[in-house]
Symmetry: C2
Subunit: 162 residues, 2 copies
């Protein structure tokens, strides 16, 4: 597949799943029927695989970012507006905690080559810089909020702007 994220670009590669999560969250934000959409419905409207969408939703649900209601008329619903949902929360939910080094945040002093390690804990300025940069970015900032973008048959072509 491949949506917006790079294939094997380089650093700072966050997973495709995170990309999918943003897509799905955006779609959920556009929902109108009480803001509830089903996983199969989301899969159809986004073009992603249904099992993949389910997986993403499950993870987001586990993190408390969406709420799943079971049963025949079930579906998923945002627990918060996207403007109040930090990007870091989604990243943490999908990819785990945002950390660059192991020595720094985790229990310090567990390096297997602790002896003769010349840069112990020296990466934390980078960590802090990254965290500071990422905090303050909400999903709404990424969504651009085109709101209720229809996706009829044919070729929507969201790109055509400007």
């Amino acid at each position: 597949m491949g949506y917006g994220l790079a294939e094997g670009n380089g650093v700072l590669r966050l997973s495709k799943l995170t990309d999918y999560a943003v897509v799905v969250l955006t779609r959920l934000d556009e929902a109108e029927d009480g803001g509830v959409l089903t996983a199969p419905g989301l899969a159809a409207s986004t073009g992603l695989g249904e099992p993949t969408v389910s997986k993403v939703l499950k993870t987001l649900s586990h993190a408390g970012l969406v709420e799943g209601r079971r049963g025949a008329a079930g579906g998923y619903r945002l627990t918060r507006p996207l403007g109040a949902m930090a990007l870091t929360e989604v990243i943490t939910a999908i990819d785990g905690p945002i950390a660059l080094t192991a020595c720094v945040d985790n229990a310090a002093g567990f390096c297997d080559a602790e002896a003769r390690c010349p840069v112990r804990g020296r990466w934390d300025p980078v960590n802090d810089a990254i965290r500071r940069a990422l905090s303050g970015i909400s999903i709404a900032d990424l969504a651009g909020v085109p709101a209720v973008v229809p996706h009829p048959e044919g070729e929507p072509r969201y790109a055509a702007a400007e």
Copy 2:
């Protein structure tokens, strides 16, 4: 091995090679004999594998961050002081360009699912934030500049500080 970087933590994982690069660059900065050290020597003093160190040096050399001199009395030398060497340069040299998405920086409009892609190019605020956070961090900032830390036999234990 594993030096300072996390194993499989999460986002923002930059490669171990970049970690090694910082280690090697720091060692080179501590050198005194005209600032020239050999790859085997660096491997021995850092505890890293000799082929791996060579690989890192070769890459750094190709990026112009170090200068390799061949022959019997050859070795590597910094082309700039660490304070004037940006972290982003090292990252770019080892891991490639710092980019989060493919659609944004590269030739736009090559998404295989370009139609119905709801977040085209929406990741660039993140890209910008990351770049802005990383610029302004030099290798000297990471090195801490303990300068000429001896590594005799026994157990150096750099951690023992404070």
